[in-house]
């Protein structure tokens, strides 16, 4: 409670100073942008925490996280906003960047809410991708391998795990 009160006070003073110091990095807020090519899910919204599945593992990003960049793996992005509401989205691939000025961008190639995943279709995709993995040129096999990974992660996400 006290911490939140302090944080609110800090926000107010910062706003007053905003005109004087434009490029100030607001390090106690996480400004989050989560978008895919055709839609924007969060656009510079202040949130509390974001868990992002990257090739290096699941990265939990809070405000003032050290700047970093990463490549997304198929998996679930979990966003906790300031009220404690958690929303989960499945992402297929993309990039993560946490910048020096305190803004975080997760740019996914495809992102959908977990509730909208069609489990039967995902299962079918997994099966056909596994079949495709055994035939074709190297490039085709690699592409089929990616499909298997995504379909697998989709099913895991629907199943409730990460």
């Amino acid at each position: 409670m006290l911490a939140r009160g302090l944080r609110v006070a800090a926000q107010i003073t910062k706003r007053g100073l905003a005109a004087a110091a434009p490029a100030q990095s607001s390090t106690d807020q996480l400004r989050f942008t989560f978008a895919s090519p055709d839609k924007s899910i969060f656009n510079n919204t202040v949130v509390k925490q974001v868990d992002v599945p990257t090739v290096a593992g699941i990265v939990g990003v809070l405000a003032s996280h050290v700047p970093t960049i990463g490549v997304l793996k198929p998996g679930v992005v979990q966003v906790t906003d300031n009220e404690g509401q958690v929303s989960k989205y499945f992402v297929s691939s993309g990039t993560l960047s946490m910048n020096i000025d305190g803004s975080c961008q997760v740019l996914a190639e495809e992102a959908i809410k977990l509730e909208e995943i069609d489990e039967a279709a995902a299962r079918q995709e997994l099966e056909s991708a596994q079949r495709a993995q055994n035939e074709g040129s190297e490039k085709d096999r690699a592409e089929a391998g990616i499909r298997v990974e995504v379909a697998d992660a989709l099913l895991k996400a629907v199943g409730g795990g990460h």
């Binding site: 942008t33 978008a35 895919s36 090519p37 055709d38 839609k39 924007s40 656009n43 510079n44 090739v55 290096a56 050290v66 700047p67 970093t68 960049i69 990463g70 490549v71 993309g94 990039t95 960047s97 910048n99 020096i100 000025d101 803004s103 961008q105 740019l107 190639e109």
Partner: protein
């Protein structure tokens, strides 16, 4: 006779494009012109409506694409803050990516990109080497004559369907595969502002080595080469996608206004021609009457 003379003068004044001052434009000539201008007006009206529908869709798509594109830019803004030194030394090898499309009749959208590119190429320092990637036939055609040697890659089949991330990925892949070496790159596109205005803008691109050379990169934690390479390649596709989306929206809105103007102009021409037609028709009737009357008077 005198009356026929004055009508002849009036017709000649109403049709300033009528080159032959001796013969009055016959009824048939005027009606031919009238028919063709009416057809053209129908075409431009329907083109305007098609462009309006495409523009509505493109603007909706742009909302999502904008936050995507601005997000993609954020990393580069942070790592390469535009200070005064940016105006100073231009790197030796530069890449210009021009985003246009294949289709014309859209106002000044393509010509503004070509103009900006020509401007850059004409005012460059002697030791700076520019390579061009033209996306869309219009920019290629505009720069073909004078700067054909600088065009490294060109893409077409753009403009028929709204741009997708796949198109941008294909373009980015082609640029990376072609092995063009560049120290710095710029994407030239038209940023959409409102229905009636757009602005020719630039997006900076940094290749992998240039990103590694930036000191700001050191503040970024746990960045290994693999991740950085994937990130920079993916970002190229993201930035190209954003530029394509903005350009498509600007193009459709510009086409809408251009076709609207064309329909209005055609409407004005039709009005003028209709007046001329009626005047000529009345003159012809008057002449016939006079001939009949004077003929009868002789008898």
């Amino acid at each position: 006779m005198l009356r026929a003379g004055t009508t002849k003068l009036a017709t000649a004044a109403a049709l300033p494009i009528c080159e032959q001052q001796r013969g009055m434009a016959t009824l048939k000539d005027i009606s031919l012109r009238l028919k063709s201008v009416k057809n053209i007006q129908k075409i431009t009206k329907s083109m305007k409506m098609v462009a309006a529908a495409k523009y509505a869709k493109a603007e909706r798509d742009l909302k999502g694409a904008r936050s995507y594109g601005v997000g993609a830019k954020a990393f580069f803004d942070n790592i390469d803050p535009k200070t005064e030194e940016a105006a100073g030394e231009t790197k030796k090898k530069q890449l210009l990516v021009l985003i246009t499309s294949d289709r014309g009749l859209c106002g000044a959208v393509h010509s503004s990109i070509a103009k900006e590119a020509k401007n850059i190429l004409n005012h460059k320092a002697a030791d700076v080497d520019y390579k061009l990637v033209t996306i869309g036939d219009k920019s290629k055609a505009a720069l073909q004559r004078v700067f054909a040697s600088t065009i490294a890659l060109s893409g077409n089949e753009i403009g028929r369907t709204p741009p997708s991330f796949e198109d941008a990925a294909i373009a980015a892949q082609a640029i990376l595969d072609s092995g063009i070496e560049f120290d710095e790159g710029t994407i030239l596109f038209n940023k959409f502002k409102t229905v009636v205005s757009y602005e020719t803008s630039k997006l900076p691109i940094l290749p992998l080595e240039a990103i590694k050379a930036k000191e700001a990169l050191n503040t970024y934690d746990s960045v290994d080469d693999d991740v950085l390479q994937s990130y920079s390649e993916y970002s190229l596709a993201q930035l190209i996608y954003y530029a394509m989306k903005e350009n498509a929206t600007s193009e459709q809105s510009s086409r809408m206004t251009a076709m609207d103007g064309a329909s209005k102009n055609a409407g004005e021409m039709i009005d003028k021609l209709t007046l001329a037609f009626n005047r000529t028709r009345q003159a012809v009737i008057t002449r016939e009457l006079i001939e009949i009357i004077s003929g009868a008077a002789c008898v």
